[in-house]
Every structure is written in structure tokens, then in C-alpha cells.
């Protein structure tokens, strides 16, 4: 009973909080294909992050709100060390040298992917930057946020924790936790 009450409380908190931060809940939408190279030229897909909750952030070096939220993503990475969360930032439609010029000024430890021709941006139907997708451990899109946030606190952290909690839960409990924001 206590467990149920806890889950309901978490659901209510997420429902209110997610709306306040602008998180849009999705009903476990299959994720589009991600096909991009990292800064070393190694190809990456979502399969590389299988079994983890994924925070996939579309950004650009010319976009001030994107840069404003990045330190909080770095703090989130540190806070989540050892937990099944992958933070991936994919630069939208810029040349590699522009991305590297920015990264020489801001040290980030999470993976940066490149999308120089914008093909991933178009597959994921990104129309504003930053746009962030939160995927569950099964690779399904569960939340979308258009615009920046502080990722290591408040509603953003609560949403991520809720997805992380599912990675430990048996399937029946996963179903009940989907009663989070609509």
C-alpha cells in the first residue's frame, strides 16, 4: 500500500512538475534512428546506449540557451556516475570546427555527436534548439523538452529519476509508473 501511495505521489509530482518545466510526456513512442559520428569519427547509434536511460540533447554552438544548460548537464553526469544514464549531446547542422571551437572553451565530459548535414535533426523533427528527448532503457521516447532547463535539479531530475527507477522495476510496476504526466 505504501509503495502504491509513493508511486501515486511521484506521479502527481511529475505531472505538475513536468508541466511547469515544459516537459511533454509521450506514450512510449519508438525512437527515430540516430546515426551520427562522435568527435573522434566513431559512428554511434542508439544501440550503443541500450539498457540505459538516454538524455539526447540537440544543440548548436550559436544557441545561447543551449550553452546555458550545458553546465547543468555536466553536473548531472557527475551526479549520476555509476547509474544507467547516458547523456548525449548532438550538435545540429554545424561544421566540426565550429563545435570544436566551442568545446575548447567549455569542457564537457559527456559524448558529443555531430550532425553536420542536419539529417538526424530532420529525422527527429527538431524545429527549435535546444530540444531534448528522454528515452527509457528500452529506447522509447518518453519525454520531450523544447527549450533549456537545469538538468541536475527540480523537475528535470525527478523525470530522469522516474525513468531510472523503471530500469529496476519488474514489468508490472513499469506499467503503473506510466501513469505519470500526460
Amino acid at each position: 500500500m505504501k509503495r502504491w501511495l509513493g508511486l501515486c505521489a511521484m506521479g502527481l509530482m511529475l505531472a505538475g512538475g513536468a508541466q511547469a518545466a515544459g516537459f511533454e510526456a509521450r506514450s512510449a513512442t519508438p525512437a527515430p534512428e540516430l546515426k551520427a559520428n562522435d568527435l573522434k569519427g566513431a559512428p554511434k547509434t542508439l544501440a550503443d546506449y541500450r539498457g540505459k536511460v538516454v538524455l539526447l540533447n540537440f544543440w548548436a554552438s550559436w544557441c545561447p540557451p543551449c550553452l546555458r544548460e550545458m553546465p547543468s548537464m555536466e553536473r548531472l553526469r557527475q551526479k549520476m556516475t555509476g547509474r544507467p544514464l547516458a547523456i548525449v549531446a548532438i550538435d545540429s547542422a554545424e561544421a566540426e570546427d565550429e563545435v570544436n571551437a566551442f568545446l575548447s572553451k567549455m569542457k564537457l565530459s559527456f559524448p558529443i555527436l555531430l550532425d553536420p548535414d542536419g539529417s538526424n535533426t530532420k529525422r527527429w523533427k527538431v524545429f527549435a534548439l535546444p530540444t531534448t528527448f528522454l528515452l527509457d532503457a528500452e529506447g522509447r521516447v518518453r519525454y520531450v523538452l523544447t527549450g533549456p532547463t537545469e538538468w541536475d535539479e527540480g523537475e528535470a531530475l525527478a523525470v530522469i529519476e522516474s525513468l531510472l527507477a523503471e530500469t529496476h522495476a519488474p514489468p508490472k510496476q513499469v506499467e503503473s509508473r506510466r501513469l505519470t504526466p500526460q
Binding site: 513512442t29 527538431v126 527549435a128
Partner: protein, 233 residues
């Protein structure tokens, strides 16, 4: 004599009535053969735009500056542009054409919506005489992550020549081909130019780059350059 006085008075009254529904705009007169009708974005007219309009007039291009937000007392929102009466903008286009000058319209961001609706409301012959430059036009009806974009249908643009000026540093740049297709499907002849190293609204940014500051000061030159390169007459 009194008949002529009455006639003149009547003509003046008619002309006033005809212009009464034309949205309020600023005119920077010039003697040259070209008239640029500059429609500011939903953010309203910015100081660098006023400066550019003055500079264009000084170079012989008569410039009419239209700030729809101010003219219709609208909130500075993209959706405000969708409420502008297209017929009144069409009347302004006709008034510009009645000047006898070659008319180019330049609309920024969501101001493209009332401008294109007005162009669609023109007679085909009037529309064919118009050249339209759109700076990062926002014609979306729906633009949500993971969903196909949907563009507004503004009416027939048959015969209209459109040139899109698209700053490279914009989330809309990857979507430009779809926008051009949409304009073409509505009958326009659409082309584009990418403006390198610039962001949308670069003349009114809170934290502009040095290049953007410099480009803001020479918007008149950019517009003349793009007009000449385009060659729409």
C-alpha cells in the same frame, strides 16, 4: 469655380477614405525607381531597421517601413501576425504599386504570413509585378518534435517571385527545402540565399557577435546586394 472646389474636396475625401484602411507606416522618400516595403517581424521595428531604411532612402530606394505590431496594437507574438487583416496589407501593396515605382516587399519572420496572404489577395497581374524577399519566414502551423512539419496555406501565389534569406545559424535552416517546396506548390517561384555566420534577428540580439553587430549596421547594403544578385524586376 465652386464646382472645381467641390470636386477637389470630393477627391481628397475619396483618397482619404481609400487610405483609411491602409496600415500605418513610415515613409522614407527617395527619387529612385525602386520602392522597398519593409514589414518588420512580430517583435516590432528595431532601431537598426530604421537606420537601414534611412540609408536605403539616402541611396535612392524609397522605403516604407511597416510595423504591424504597432499599427494594430498587437502583442509581440508570432500568433499576432496571423490576425492582421490581409486585405488591408493588400491595399498597402496596391498603394505602393500605384506609386509607379518597382515594388519589392521584404518581410521578416512571421510577418511573412500577412504579407503572403495579401499577395494572394491581389489580382494575378498585380501579383506578377511584385518581388518578395522573406527573411527566415515562419510559415509553420505545426512544428512539434517527432511530428512532420505543417505549413500554412495562404492562397494562390501564382506568378509571385519569392526569395528567402535564411541565416545559416537557425534551427529552421535544415527545414528550408520543405518550406521552398511549399511555396512552389502554392504557385510561387521560390529561391533562397543562405546568410553565413548569422542568426535569426541578428540586428536585435541580446548578445550579438562582432560580425552580427557589423552586419546590423550594413543591412541596407545586404538588402541591395541580395536584390541585385536576385535580379527580380
Amino acid at each position: 469655380m465652386s464646382f472645381f472646389r467641390f470636386l477637389l474636396l470630393g477627391l481628397w475625401a475619396c483618397s482619404f477614405a481609400a487610405r483609411a484602411d491602409v496600415p500605418d507606416h513610415q515613409v522614407y522618400p527617395a527619387e529612385g525607381p525602386q520602392l522597398l516595403l519593409w514589414v518588420a517581424s512580430e517583435r516590432g521595428r528595431a532601431e537598426p531597421e530604421v537606420h537601414a531604411a534611412q540609408q536605403l532612402a539616402a541611396q535612392g530606394v524609397e522605403t516604407w517601413s511597416l510595423d504591424l505590431v504597432s499599427a494594430y496594437f498587437l502583442p509581440q507574438l508570432a500568433s499576432s501576425m496571423d490576425t492582421v487583416p490581409a486585405q488591408e496589407v493588400a491595399d498597402l501593396l496596391r498603394a505602393a504599386q500605384a506609386s509607379g515605382k518597382r515594388v519589392v516587399v521584404y518581410a521578416v519572420s512571421r510577418a511573412a504570413v500577412p504579407l503572403l496572404r495579401a499577395a494572394a489577395a491581389l489580382e494575378p497581374a498585380e501579383r506578377q509585378r511584385l518581388c518578395v524577399m522573406l527573411m527566415y519566414p515562419n510559415l509553420y502551423t505545426v512544428a512539434e518534435p517527432l511530428a512532420e512539419p505543417d505549413f500554412l496555406v495562404v492562397g494562390s501565389l501564382a506568378g509571385l517571385r519569392v526569395q528567402v534569406l535564411q541565416p545559416r545559424r537557425s534551427a529552421a535552416t535544415p527545414w528550408l527545402p520543405g518550406l521552398l517546396d511549399h511555396l512552389t506548390q502554392q504557385g510561387a517561384t521560390a529561391g533562397h540565399v543562405i546568410l553565413e555566420n548569422l542568426r535569426e534577428g541578428y540586428w536585435a540580439r541580446e548578445t550579438p557577435t562582432e560580425f552580427e553587430i557589423a552586419e546590423s549596421r550594413r543591412m541596407d547594403a545586404m538588402l541591395l546586394r541580395e536584390l541585385n544578385n536576385w535580379g527580380c524586376k
